[in-house]
Symmetry: C2
Subunit: 753 residues, 2 copies
């Protein structure tokens, strides 16, 4: 499934990552391949320029409507931070994917009442369940070009570290200025710093769970069908945004009232059909189609195989734990899902890059660019140094990559007690600084979100999971070569280069016993109290997790410093690189995805899947009957199977497709999407909601690195399946009434006929 | 894959089974469903009556050509006994499936030179390898209606056991008379004894291996792809028929010469393309589409689940053995392949009958027939007793089915030393009788084949395999209920009803230790010597396997007697049943398959496979590249991958399909086929060979019990892939010259323009 991450702090930070690309110096530029009809996650303001292409695909509406972020339909499109979503009623009802509401289902589950399995329906507003801290709805209200403000008149001779400082400072100032009016402001770079935009968003903090079908519908097929077709997943759920009675975005409070958006999508009861032109509006996370070859090569040949190995091993460890302990099982379930998802995706990317030949294409592509630069003396003089310099940055990073990756795991492991300690400790160091001098992640504007993250961490923090995962990572720390040792860990644990596995294992076991017994950070109240403490007070606690974090701080800080210097270099080189590429290729190009609002378009269409096999564009209820086994992940609920039987016996439904003589479930499209797009509204030419994007086929995943115009397909759930399930399986009549019963927009004109 | 059996004596007996249906009282009649264009494995003489249907599908040839078994193309169609094949050169070259030549590859393999893996090509005639004893080519030369001779003027009051005797005697007499001229003669019943035909065949005994590609081509995909689509198996190989210099069918001799058939097929270099009308001519084994419901129900609900359990368990046992011992591995390989194949097929039939609703259809069908009989007083008086009486036979057999199935396994286990002992012992009892009074299997005409089977058994007989499989069967014998005990085994082993598993296991282990140590029948010479011995002399050997067989003989003989009585009842009831059905339905109907020569027709066509998925009609070399992993069963040879690369680099080949821009590998068709059809010639409208039938899709297997006109698809290898492999991979230029270089027929006219 498409999702950025599901269970850690970083889910909250897509925009932070977008405007401070410290660790991922991604260069964005233009490809030489002909841009196909369906490639491109476009900035909304680019859509009007595509009008003639859209008309060729049968579009008769007004393309400029997409550029108006406060009009219909874009005013209804929202981000959940990591997932996409949309308003579908005047009372702030939000449609998104089932897999995007997992954290809420987890937060509201108990061993006795597992909402992740059985689903949830609030029959009245008062039954709606708060998602817990950290859940957000972001409504983008404006996007403004601020390139001059951020990188205008920068001294070209500035050293890289100073260049980084200067850009970061301007970003902070611009952000602060932009947030005067109470909106959340994000400064995002496009085309590797050639363009900068300021994105202003309303940030709704009280978000509640309204309806999620059972796992046997919402996650039907589970990991077995993940990235696969034919697909029969009912990957939809509903949230509702709440604000204060005065209409302000405030923290959760019982007396809050439903938010009334200016726009909400009409939900079409006719879904999408083969050949239909459709649009997907949402927040794709990140693509690297235009990254230089050296960077992609390192990702494909080092990072991804490493991910495959780690995820495989960690899944085995956590699944074993889950079988032993039901409470641990609930805590680690979303993390397991994330690991599985990332494992499958990573394997697919590796396959596509190697077997599909995409890596070789990228290499050939860069060689041809270099030859083109070399062919002209002036070009060579102007730009001949750019690629070698960017490659040198990659090589520099590679020198300590093993050590740095392990350090990040141990010192700030996602969802672990050490991750919590690192946030607490760094906050204590950043707080005494003036806000403008703080690391952006630790500026005052993020404090409440950091605090909420510590709060909701309680649902997934598990000492047993920490122990097996740290044991795993430290065993590799023990094996690091002499040139990459982590001295602090060697000293604390008693490790040394070349030590035998058994000896190291014993030392690690003893160390973790002390570490995990000596920390009180597994207690939520302690973690929250720590948020207000000074560094000295923290150290005085003598908490083992804090003390280890402090001991590791000099090295983690040195790594951050180095990364900032590399980013400064990227700010210097990236725009020049983009320029030489634009000079060579030109044309209307969508920038790589960076977590900001985009619109993509395409058609409902099957695809030749493998030699001798074709994926048809739609699936139907019939496939659910064929796949249902009664056991997870093919545990279609009895109520659903009975409803299908009733349909077969002649029960009428408005959601029947006369062509298929069945209710459509999922469909394929040529629309260009990626992680973060999950839950995105899928719109027809009239701007009506016809489905929700929730996945791509396995052949699609390598498109993050190079778009494949032939095989790429996105997977959507059809609104007819959503509405049929609500009507015939779960009896969600209250929501059907809310969706269907009212005019669609308070005042705005419709974008089409 | 379609095959009747691969590694046991019964492979030699399709015709014996066809004319003495002792154990399988299959009733054949007419279905009420509209006969679709493609249903039916027709007797060749029925084809002319289908001329208008064929014309509607675009046929412009002379349909009556198919009825002439001595003309073109039918004169080129042969049986291998269990598989089908066809002559493709004037020098007796025979095309069939790779999986049909497994026994020859096994017979000619050694631990050092595993032909099953590496394949084989004779570059000259003198390199061709004798298949070993028991391999046959049967050329059907005439088919004659002998109904009156077999069942005319039978006393309607005869008791069932006497009726069986009378029919068997007439069959034997007719067979003996028919074989006066030196041909092999088979009397086969159609429409459950309503019709009887005499089939005369030339029986060629010296058959040699000419060419088989490597397993990485001939069995590419192996068990993983078995019954699946998309398929990329190059399931083709070549034999050659040899006769004495005087042109007689004689035993293998070095000086024998290639047989020169009167007709041989033109091999088309243009293969088959989507929409093409094609014909499949071959020897389908057995279908039960018209069997009464009670029989089908017992098969689906008792026999098949039993097969699934046994095959699963036996595969595990034999695979474990194979890993421990390379010689055992070679011996049991064909048996393992047969077990896998039957397991997959049986699971598919169960799925189709249950999930596909075919069993329920059969039940409803019979209920409606019963209602129709009851609705008319005369019909009720005439035929009301038929179905209840047939059902009573099924119920009678069911009473001791557990015991009888286990007895058959222990006393005559396929490919085991006990199976060999049973043949030897029964032969010694039958031999002293006059030939007319012998059991048909033991008549003189079968002696040389029985002997050859004992000879070739040496290649697969394995004491370790016998031990694990007999341990498995005897453990179940130990668990039989008190009402179904096998007293002889209880006594010999020391078993009793209700005995604990451990105790029984110990007794069985001790018993098998003695049994297997005390027999010399693992030695080929001893087995062959036994074929000439009297019962008394055999008993005097005091061989443990012979002694156990003798001890079990009274019970096995009593079971045969009971089966004969039931068959006699079937001879009485079957024709009446067929009559009532014909009275109700009428029309041109193909009889159920019974191992005799048939022609089926259909079109090259894809199929909706599952909800959201479509099988395309063809696969190409591209799929081999996609699937190849280097490891079995996806171990495409390096030479093949290089040849594909050369093709991609521009090397010309006449076998390229311009539509696909690749060489086609396999294709799907709507042709109605079943086990035994393997290796069947696939002909185009001109009677040219365009492929070889080798399998059906998984959705097709239940069609043996009820034809599914929508989902049924056969799988063929395209001649273009055969010829391309011969030319570009294996350098079989000698065979290409032989196939291409000469006129196609000595004298006969062609069936079409």
């Amino acid at each position: 499934m498409h999702e950025v991450t599901t269970c850690d702090l970083t889910t909250l930070k897509p925009f932070i990552r977008a405007f401070v690309p410290v660790c991922v110096p991604v260069v964005m530029f233009v490809t030489s391949r002909p841009v196909t009809a369906d490639e491109g996650m476009w900035m909304p303001q680019q859509i009007p320029a595509l009008a003639s292409k859209l008309e060729a695909l049968g579009f008769t509406g007004d393309a400029s409507a997409f550029a108006d972020l406060t009009g219909y339909p874009m005013g209804a499109i929202v981000s959940l931070g990591g997932c996409s979503a949309s308003f579908v009623s005047p009372d702030g009802l939000i449609a998104t994917n089932h897999h995007c509401v997992q954290r809420s289902l987890q937060y509201n589950s108990t061993p006795e009442r597992n909402l992740m399995e059985q689903g949830f329906l609030a029959k009245t507003r008062s039954d709606e369940l708060w998602n817990g801290p950290g859940s957000r709805v972001f409504v983008t209200v404006s996007v403004r070009d601020v390139t001059d403000d951020i990188v205008g008149k920068l001294d070209p001779m500035l050293a890289d570290r100073m260049r980084f400082e200067a850009v970061e400072k301007r970003v902070k100032q611009q952000t602060a200025a932009g947030e005067q009016g109470g909106l959340r402001c994000t400064i995002a770079s496009f085309f590797e710093g050639k363009k900068w935009f300021e994105i202003s968003q309303m940030e709704i903090e009280d978000v509640r769970l309204v309806y999620a079908p059972a796992a046997g519908i919402g996650n039907f097929g589970g990991e077995v069908d993940n990235w696969q077709w034919p697909r029969h997943t009912g990957d939809f759920s509903f949230y509702r945004a709440y604000v204060s009675p005065a209409g302000k975005a405030v923290a959760y409070a019982k007396e809050n009232v439903p938010y009334r958006p200016k726009h909400w999508l009409r939900v079409s009861p006719r879904g999408a059909n083969p050949g239909d032109l459709i649009f997907v509006a949402g927040y794709p996370g990140r693509t690297s189609r235009l990254t230089p070859y050296a960077e992609v090569q390192q990702t494909v040949e080092w990072s991804m195989p490493r991910t495959v190995k780690r995820n495989t091993d960690q899944i085995a460890l956590l699944e074993k734990l889950s079988m032993e302990d039901q409470e641990t099982a609930i805590r680690v379930a979303p993390r397991l899902r994330g690991l599985h998802n990332s494992l499958t995706k990573t394997q697919g990317v590796i396959k596509g890059m190697h077997q599909g030949g995409l890596l070789a294409e990228r290499e050939a592509h860069e060689k041809s660019l270099l030859a083109w630069i070399d062919a002209d003396p002036k070009r060579k003089a102007d730009s001949g140094d750019v690629l070698p310099a960017l490659n040198a940055l990659v090589a520099d990073r590679a020198r300590t990559r093993e050590r740095d990756a392990l350090l990040a795991e141990v010192a700030g492991g996602t969802g672990s007690v050490m991750g919590a300690a690192q946030t607490i400790y760094r906050l204590s160091i950043e707080k005494p600084k003036s806000d403008m001098n703080r690391d952006p992640e630790y500026q005052e504007r993020n404090w409440s979100r950091l605090r909420e993250a510590q709060d909701r961490l309680q649902r997934s923090l598990d000492v047993k999971a920490d122990r097996v995962l740290m044991t795993y990572s430290l065993a590799e720390v023990a094996k690091l070569p002499a040139s990459q040792r982590i001295d602090v860990l060697d000293h604390e644990i008693g490790l040394a280069a070349g030590m035998g596995e058994a000896e190291a294992g014993k030392a690690i076991d003893a160390f973790l016993g002390k570490l995990l017994a000596g920390t009180r950070l597994y207690q939520k109240d302690v973690r929250l109290a720590c948020h207000d403490m000074s560094t000295a007070d923290l150290l005085a606690m003598n908490d083992t997790a804090i003390m280890l974090t402090a001991a590791l701080y000099p090295l983690t800080e040195a790594n951050r410093e180095k990364a900032k210097e590399r980013s400064g270099a990227t700010y210097r080189l990236g725009p020049r690189y983009a320029e030489v590429l634009l000079a060579r290729h030109g044309g209307a190009v969508a920038p790589d995805a960076n977590g900001t609002l985009r619109v993509a378009y395409g058609q409902v269409m099957g695809v030749p899947a493998r030699d001798g096999l074709r994926y048809l564009p739609q699936t139907t209820l019939q496939g659910i009957v064929e796949k249902a086994t009664g056991a997870s992940p093919f545990n279609a609920p009895a109520a659903e199977l009975a409803a299908i039987q009733a349909l077969r016996a002649g029960k009428m439904t408005p959601y029947l497709d006369p062509q298929l003589n069945d209710v459509p479930v999922d469909f394929l499209s040529t629309v260009d999407t990626t992680g973060g797009n999950s839950g995105s509204a899928t719109l027809n030419s009239k701007g009506e909601l016809v489905g929700l994007l929730f996945d791509g086929t396995y052949d699609t995943v390598a498109s993050d690195y190079r778009f494949d115009p032939v095989r790429t397909r996105s997977i959507h759930v059809d609104t007819r399946y959503m509405l049929w399930t609500m009507a015939e399986v779960d009896g969600a009549t209250n929501l059907l009434d809310e969706i269907n019963g009212l005019p669609r927009s308070v005042d705005a004109p419709q974008p089409t006929h």
